[in-house]
Amino acid sequence: MSRILRIAFTIMACWVLAGCRDASPSEPAPSTIRLQLNWVPEPEFGGIYAADAAGFFRDEGLQVEIIKGGPGVAAPQLAASGRVEFAVVGGEQILTLGEAGGELVGIYAIYQDDPMAVMVHATSPFASLEELWKSDATVACEANLSWVTMLNEKFGGASLKIVPHGGSIALFAADSNLAQQCFVFAEPVALEMQGVATKVFLVKESGFNPYNGVIATSAAYAKANPETCAKVRRALQRGWERYLKDPAPTNAVMAAMNPAMTKEAMDIAAKRQQPLIESPDTERLGLGAMTAERWSNTAQQLQRLGKITTLPAPEEIFLWGTSAPR
């Protein structure tokens, strides 16, 4: 019996050690850089696909593979654990994942202003988030999101009913009393084209406005490859410049990959998202820019809401310019 145990233990130990070697940092970097999206191809990734189509990554000597996402894709964890080199994540996710031990560094913020919003039917009696939150309406959204917690603190929300948000607009279209989280330029446009009129309330107007659509990489990768990060950023800036000027060709490419959204809807969405992408900061520092002030602001809000306990130094969580993170 003890011999069998010993053999089993040896096999186990070998397997564990082999696993260790696989995970060691001395592994040569793959020649292809993987960029994981956190949703299906839509105008929120327009500049990424434009950069790819125009060969801007190739101009930097990079071979980039764009990996489509969808509901449930764990983009932040994939990037933090090195399964992919880069991923598109929500700005606040960099902070909350950091709290859980996953170190991410943002290198480019697509959205300077958070597109997160809550939509209601045009026939709804509510005229603001405050009115909605003080009612007993049903809101389909991801429970415990920071902005939901913030609105609860601000407006009470004791009788509000929060139900899961599966990412579909079918439920919303079928129920004229339902409110649902959305990106201001995405779901409302799709609904409009189906003949469903909506009213949309932006979450940022109640004071919570993190960067969104942040291209992030693991802290280890950012430290070891500052040059690659700068190249990816340059290619993204050129891609977004091109997309903002003329989104139509890229939309045609993305519409072919995403049957759920027509090119017409993408054209409208691209126009509507533009004010969230360009800001005084981007005019000064370039598209995708991030500032330490904005990051500290978001971190402090998350700390106050109890989502994180320690405040990271801003230079640990984002990288702008060519300096490596500390």
Partner: protein, 254 residues
């Protein structure tokens, strides 16, 4: 009694060994907690959030119990009806198979459209996945009655009810209970999936919502805690059905 507690020893040792190996492996390989937390962290999460998690578990347990009871009662009724006629069985049995084949994750959002958000959809989702094994096992149990006794009942002009109650039921009870045992585990899965799409969030959110929320907050240890509690609900229901089976076996064995 001493004998029974000894029988529990091997599985307990196996579980303890698995947990220990998990703890050692995660620590030795330095796996970050957001990918796979060690069991000790799961235990801490269970303890830290015990009040809220207890409430969540109660909510999931009550929906599971309701879904299970509906599946058990309806399953036995449908199985019995199908057993009364070969033609009925041939016609309708494939339809009941649908319950087994339907991918729950796909129809769960439809249940929300039909029944609205909240406990009704959760119970329905639980009953839908749990009902088939009860129907199938009831039917095969009723069919397995002694054919000689069957002839005897015919000779004595027994009514359908007498035939079901005095001939079919005694021979079918063990297989009905087998169906219910399978249904106990399935009902729990059905309830948690139902909560994924229709559970109410907030302070006393059910386990399905706790799992989704904790996933989003990268609190993997809490995901495991909630999953462990959901399995506990399934085990408890399984235990109750097993207890009922023992009582029934003693009664019908004579």
């Amino acid at each position: 009694m001493k004998h029974r507690s000894l029988a529990l020893l091997p599985p307990l040792i196996a579980i303890a060994a698995a947990l220990l190996l998990w703890e050692i492996a995660v620590r030795a390989l330095n796996v970050p907690a957001y990918l796979l937390p060690p069991p000790s962290r799961v235990a801490v999460a269970l303890w830290d959030d015990r009040a809220a998690l207890a409430m969540s578990t109660m909510r999931t347990a009550s929906a599971t119990l309701a879904g299970f009871l509906i599946a058990a009662v309806l399953g036995i009724v449908i199985g019995s009806l199908l057993s009364t006629s070969r033609r009925l069985e041939r016609g309708l049995y494939p339809l009941t198979l649908l319950f087994q084949m339907v991918p729950l994750v796909a129809i769960a959002p439809l249940l929300v459209i039909w029944l609205g958000n909240g406990i009704r959809t959760v119970i329905a989702s639980s009953a839908v996945v749990a009902i088939f094994p009860v129907i199938a096992n009831t039917l095969s149990g009723l069919r397995s009655a002694d054919p000689h006794l069957d002839e005897l009942f015919t000779l004595h002009h027994a009514t359908r009810w007498q035939r079901w109650f005095k001939l079919g039921l005694p021979s079918a009870v063990p297989s009905m209970l087998t169906g219910c045992r399978i249904a106990a585990g399935l009902a729990t899965i059905g309830a948690v999936v139902g909560e994924f799409v229709a559970g109410f969030g907030g302070a006393s959110a059910p386990l399905g919502i706790v799992i989704m929320t904790s996933l989003r907050e990268f609190r993997t240890e809490k995901v495991f805690a909630a999953v462990a509690l959901a399995s506990l609900v399934g085990f408890a229901l399984f235990g109750i059905v097993n207890g009922a089976a023992h009582v029934a076996a003693r009664r019908y064995a004579a």
